[in-house]
Amino acid sequence: MTTEQDFYAAPGDTSQGRVFTVTGQDWDSVTQSIGESAEERVVVNMGPQHPSTHGVLRLILELEGETVTEARCGIGYLHTGIEKNMEYRSWVQGVTFCTRMDYLSPFYNEATYVLGVERLLDIEDDIPEKAQVMRVLLMELNRMSSHLVAIATGGMEIGALTVMTIGFRERELVLDLFELITGLRMNHAFIRPGGVAQDLPPGALDEIRDFIALMKKRLPEYAALCNANPIFKGRLEGVGHLDLAGCMALGLTGPVLRSTGYAWDLRKTQPYCGYEDYDFEVQTWDTADSYGRFRIRLNEMWESLKIVEQCADRLAGLEGAPVMVGDKKIAWPSQLAIGSDGMGNSLDHIRHIMGESMEALIHHFKLVTEGFRVPAGQAYVPIESPRGELGAHVVSDGGTRPFRAHFRDPSFTNLQATSVMSEGGMVADVIVAIASIDPVMGGVDR
């Protein structure tokens, strides 16, 4: 125990028992103090700032020796009120907010919200093909970057630092593609109601093809490094077990559900954005443990690569096709172009609205200041995010702003399985179990 006073967690006695503040290098004094008391049971607060709890997740573990007897999660440390904020912005601006929720899969947050808005607008069939293909392309690239982080941080947490470094190395390539296509590495706000914000930049398809070729060389490295690694398997196999009945009861989806052998993937079962046109397989495993989830993520990256390849082929034939719905009362008016002082509205567009078309000026002004109105009603269009079913319950009262937008985030739901996955196991396995759920606290707390 340190001599410095900790104002936030002062050591001492409370009605719940003795409180220790562990600051590192002081285990001997802690165990000595515990040895004096008769009780073996220790309640440990892990987090919210612990490096292996995936962000600001607080775990409250009740231990007997090294065995976890009870595990509970404390969440809410990253609650930012995004859903409430969206009620005060226009429908298009909502995308800018929700992309920040699950920061490892921003395109999915955007897509599920936008699909809900499009269903309420009743323009689902009017979205141009190129916009749909670009959405699929970005989502599948995003699935790879998200799975790479899941594998990388999961590896780091059990001490496999190389897995972390190579995971982030490849993720960087995906983020470079995002930057090329959308202009930003994250927080893109690129998928808009009616389509996407802008067309593919010149040279993007070549970059994507280079990336695919490189990933075909790099992905086998993960398999060679981990799949049969005895330490890796020793730490992951049989850990965080949750069978199909448990998944159904607790509402788990995504890789955790598929690791029980049930091939439930919304891209296949309830296709959206034209997923029925792509050739890919739903990946399953039958061990219902952390190792199975790791293998599913690895295999899903191969499937995503397949889809990205098909998207690139389709986009090659769609050059110059529209990426935004034709309805000028909905389509975001600005046409971006690179000017001498960076990216901004294209001069052609400004000439058009200022000098040629009064209607274009009116639409531009109305959409930018007021936004469009969405007919009253509610919609829920879930999609298969890297973590499972992600859906936005979008409610409109007929106004220019969302009346309510609620996100069913898979991280939030899946994290409920922490206790059933880790109780009865070792403390070290709690970390592996949570890493196999792959929660992102930005999505959990919203």
Partner: protein
Amino acid sequence: MSDDKSDKNESARPAEERNLETAKDETGTGTGVEQPAPEQSPVNVPAPTGEVRAVGERRGMFGVTGTGDTSGYGGLVSATMFPTPSARPYGGWFDEVSDALEARLEATELTSAIESVVVHRGEITFHVRREDLPFVAQMLRDDEALRFEFCAGVSGVHYPEDTGRELHAVYHLTSMTHNRRIRVEVSVPDSDPHVPSLVSIYPTLDWHERETYDMFGLIFDGHPALTRVLMPDDWPGHPQRKDYPLGGIPVEYKGGSIPPPDQRRSYN
């Protein structure tokens, strides 16, 4: 996914009308012509009457009030209309689910458990009476013809002007067996915000009900530990209710001041 897909040139028509026509087409009695006859064209047909559910109203047009409003639209009052309850047939598998549900409810003499059914944009919503919610949910989960074994969670909605039913709890249920998705909605008054908990039927709702309680003050009777989950334990109020302010302070920059988002002038 949507059942009431219609031609693109019909997209301006009211949804109810298209529902009816789609339903007619499916039963084989409709004509299925591309263009409706002149006297039936959308502009000449009055809006379908029926039970209209207004949940509020909007006044004015441009977000200005008082003497500053020179638009001439300041006195405009337009009601906020939500999709009206639909009539049979709902179309597609919607009828199968409704039949199975009604058959089971009749067998247990709970025929009034379903207040109304709304089909809108290819999604079906069952408005369920609050006291019958656990029974209906249990049946939806267990009945062989229904089998909605997966619950995606509960989402609260606050309609301050929907008098007597201000707070809504909205559940999205998925049948993985039949690959179907429905919505179950319960409405309760603000003065008595109690909803029976469904945690014993769908354990996944544990945190979801805590979140809805946290954000809307809906009290889920029977929940094992209904505490706040996202906000701090001692937080006053329920932040996502409409009567809870967004908060924020004016931002000043070079002498100018921008009010917080909820106090800015906005279109209504």
